[in-house]
Symmetry: none
């Protein structure tokens, strides 16, 4: 079953709670299984570059069914660059996104930007764990 | 003063309340004065085409400081097409977005997609009126 | 629940049977709810332009939750052109695609190209009816 | 003589059989000599990033008449990047695609995505071997 908006907001709340604990300002995006945005929040102290970073990491996580940070080392590989281009240029293959699974199936993803790469992923995972 | 996330969410809540009254499912995007996304919500019954429509209308409304529907008649003009292209292709010059002003200054915009053009604008305006 | 490959192939078989009845050669594409391709078949006598047409109509039908032909009259409207551009340029707003619903929810779409616009839609609908 | 749809489906069946043997979920694309899609199948457990990867590798294999993996080492060369750009950005110069030959002539290609690069090529080759 698809993620509901209520569930997406629960994921975002979990990510923001983690960011507050880390004392950082982030953007949090939750997309559906096809990479289309469901919900988004930018904390007041987050940079706007993270508007794009958070969404792109969520899309990549949904597309590959794994944390977007797992793709970073191979991001320049012609296959990954080609997939990114063919999809329309929305994906970002950097750390900070995690897929959201239900019964082992990818139903969406959470992407975070604004902190360090590791902080971003920690926030995204804290969000995904709320489901 | 810039829109806060709390204010952006209040705008979205107002737009969603209007959509519920109209019995339609919409996407609602609120961006800052620079057109960068602050908050976004996709209602469970909204089409995903509106993910793009709502955001693009918000960006156009912020960029021109007027409802995005005011731009539609001139959208094919080389100047408007050129502005759109130079900005990166994110703007959408269709009805459904309104600027958000504070003391006469554009501090952001609200864009809605998923209903008819008029319904979208009514929702966006209902949201902006919450400030 | 998402469309399975078996279901997608059943849709394609229905569309091809209709094309054979109409004595035309077509391409048939079935995508998931997010517009990503699930299955595709090009009949031996179909033009390859229809490779793109069938897929683009399927994506548009999934994105808007309605037949892609319903969008044609407004395809040049700045809102529709903007959505198309923001999505990455994959959508085609021409007749020949229909959404596939399960319990009232869009779970995918079928797009057909190669015949007349009406023939294409008749084939797509014949396919969707197989579920 | 051009590949028929029946032959393309035989290639796909061979690739999928190999994927099942390897216990992986893949997307398989078969294109004609001009790189245009003939048939495509996404296994139920395949990531959707592979929708793009499989097709792009097939196109590159058809365009160069050799396995797409043979192009990877030179993918950044201005000539290859230029060819890719001029073609429209659909080619992917990563391992996982093989040309399909008949009497020494390229009549199409098979591209696979979803496994490791080597697994993808093994599946594609298993498919091509079915002719």
């Amino acid at each position: 079953m698809a993620l509901t908006l209520e569930e997406a907001n629960r994921v975002i709340a979990g990510a923001i709670a983690k960011a507050q604990e880390l004392k950082i300002g982030v953007c949090v995006a939750v997309c559906d299984s096809g990479g289309r945005l469901l919900a988004f929040q930018r904390m007041d102290n987050a940079i706007w570059a993270a508007v794009y970073g958070s969404q792109g990491k969520a899309i990549a996580s949904a597309a590959f069914g794994r944390p977007s940070g797992d793709l970073t080392a191979r991001a320049e590989h012609p296959t990954l660059r080609g997939i990114q281009a063919a999809e329309g240029g929305h994906m970002i293959m950097g750390q900070g996104g995690v897929p959201i699974l239900r019964d082992g199936v990818v139903v969406g993803a959470c992407g975070v930007g604004g902190g360090t790469a590791q902080e971003d992923e920690d926030c995204a995972q804290a969000g995904a764990d709320k489901l």
